[in-house]
Symmetry: C2
Subunit: 315 residues, 2 copies
């Protein structure tokens, strides 16, 4: 089958072996897949991953022991957990020590004509949510994880540092509780969407105030430093970036200022689907381009420094 895989080099392969049907899992034919910064990081060595890339998708189940799934349009959580260990049974299954992760850690991803995922990971997509929106569920869930972890109050002053792919989700989610939201970015050409949504958009140099809640989603040490500077004493700094490079924070100053740092990763799919169904988050303006799977290498090139680039895999 056609697949985009990474073995130290990123390769489009027309004869990658198709996955077998495994008990408890479903075979899925993806319609669309999204290119995420994590995918780009993987091609630079992150997680030492080898295999088919991709973890953002919407597709159709084409085979499954449980026939009720076959033919359903689905999105899927990316962590395939054991659901039996102490971590899973206390509800922290996205942290299962036995997990594999779709297209990131020991599990072939969705940038192929077929891939496999446990049924426990799947979520049916409501008819009202088109493919081009559903493919954003995974990063939107990651943005919602902030609200899952932190009590963000309607009166909080919130800053989101980073106007990239993930920032686009986070800024839209954090405006929903009614907070005053400031987006700190470097791409004014992207800001009209957020400004229309009531978000103030600025360059970092234009700011000399501090915020109750600051989110860093820049993926850059310099962005983290900006985010830290913007947190008030006793405020919260949410980290959504994973870095290659070790990043330094002055921990003594975190103590003196009693700042709380919140590491934040994958989030809840059900609420993300509800936000899309309710039209509370816009995705169409975020799509920069859509490429067929066979042009995936060009798509990856195009995805650097752009908003969302999609791969069209099946109709």
């Amino acid at each position: 089958m056609d697949a985009l895989h990474f073995d130290g080099t990123l390769r489009f392969d027309r004869s990658y072996p198709a996955p077998p049907l495994v008990p408890g899992e479903a075979l899925i034919r993806p319609h669309l897949a999204g290119i995420c910064n994590t995918d780009i990081e993987i091609t630079r060595g992150y997680m030492s991953f080898r295999g088919v890339l991709g973890h953002e998708f919407v597709g159709t189940v084409v085979a499954c022991e449980d026939g009720a799934w076959v033919g359903r349009r689905v999105v899927g959580e990316i962590n395939a957990a054991c659901l039996r260990c102490a971590t899973c049974t206390r509800g922290d299954y996205t942290h299962c020590p036995n997990r594999t992760t779709l297209g990131i850690d020991r599990r072939d991803g969705c940038m192929a004509e077929l891939f496999s995922l446990p049924v426990a990971c799947l979520h049916p997509v409501p008819d009202a949510v088109p493919d081009a929106a559903a493919v954003f569920v995974e990063p939107l869930a990651a943005a919602l994880e902030i609200l899952e972890q932190c009590h963000v109050r309607p009166t909080d002053r919130v800053a989101v540092v980073g106007d990239g792919k993930l920032g686009a989700m986070i800024v839209q989610v954090l405006r929903l509780p009614g907070c005053a939201v400031t987006l700190v970015g470097r791409h004014p050409e992207r800001w009209s969407l957020y400004q229309r949504q009531g978000v103030r958009c600025l360059h970092a140099e234009e700011l000399d105030e501090q915020f109750d809640v600051v989110v860093d989603c820049t993926g850059q040490p310099a962005g983290l430093a900006t985010a830290r500077r913007l947190v008030r004493p006793r405020g919260r700094l949410v980290l959504k970036s994973t870095f290659h490079a070790p990043s330094e924070l002055n921990l003594s100053l975190l103590v003196v200022d009693e700042v709380t740092l919140v590491g934040s990763r994958c989030g809840p799919f059900g609420p993300a689907l509800r936000l899309l169904e309710r039209g509370l988050v816009e995705t169409a303006p975020l799509i920069s381009a859509t490429y067929p799977l066979r042009e995936a290498l060009e798509a990856f090139e195009a995805a650097r420094g752009r908003l969302k680039v999609l791969l069209r895999i099946a109709a």
Copy 2:
């Protein structure tokens, strides 16, 4: 007057100028002062402080505009805030950007025959709390700050890394909500008090489990590394140490494990006095030695690597 001061060198001085009576402040004659690790850090350059050392005390008000304070036995909060700025008026007065801090930042401390502190910082000491217990209110309040910032549940598994001066307060406070508490330390000769209180005491090498809440109060990069290793995914790591040296934490792993880091500093005095009055925290076994103020240099030498060393200043 007699005073212990630091001008790049630690000096005991018999003719240090006595402080004037300032409007809104009280002149206090300390009975006892405690030597804290922060004092020792200051003699190594921390905060670039110059002046009289000391911020842990119990004493008697000897002069004040408001005569009702004169003759009262008091302890005192160490941050002298403006109480007018936006930070103060939202209740974060220990973070007032205009604050001075007793014996730490631009305000002479309590290791002298007389010192001055705003009336707003003072707390009368109940008769049931003897001087030798009241002198622990400041570090006990710092330990209680953890409960002020974090919801520590009775079912949480808690580890305290560091069996020094501050650890002695923290481990006793964190056992109060009923949590299972493990003290991770290097001084088994200090552990009998905590073991009698139902706390498990271990060396770091003996542990291969993880905890819901971990507190680092070692003041050492190696202690922080141990503490980080002991936090479960989605757990909380409370930082009570201020370091000279930059300390490194792998921030990507904080994101992947969704760990929350909580910087924690000064805490509430009222609840700390109540704990002492109720006999819920033991202090007598923590006193290693008591020196007269004129032997303060010897006391500082003795305080390194010991539990609490006190200075007796007035009867």
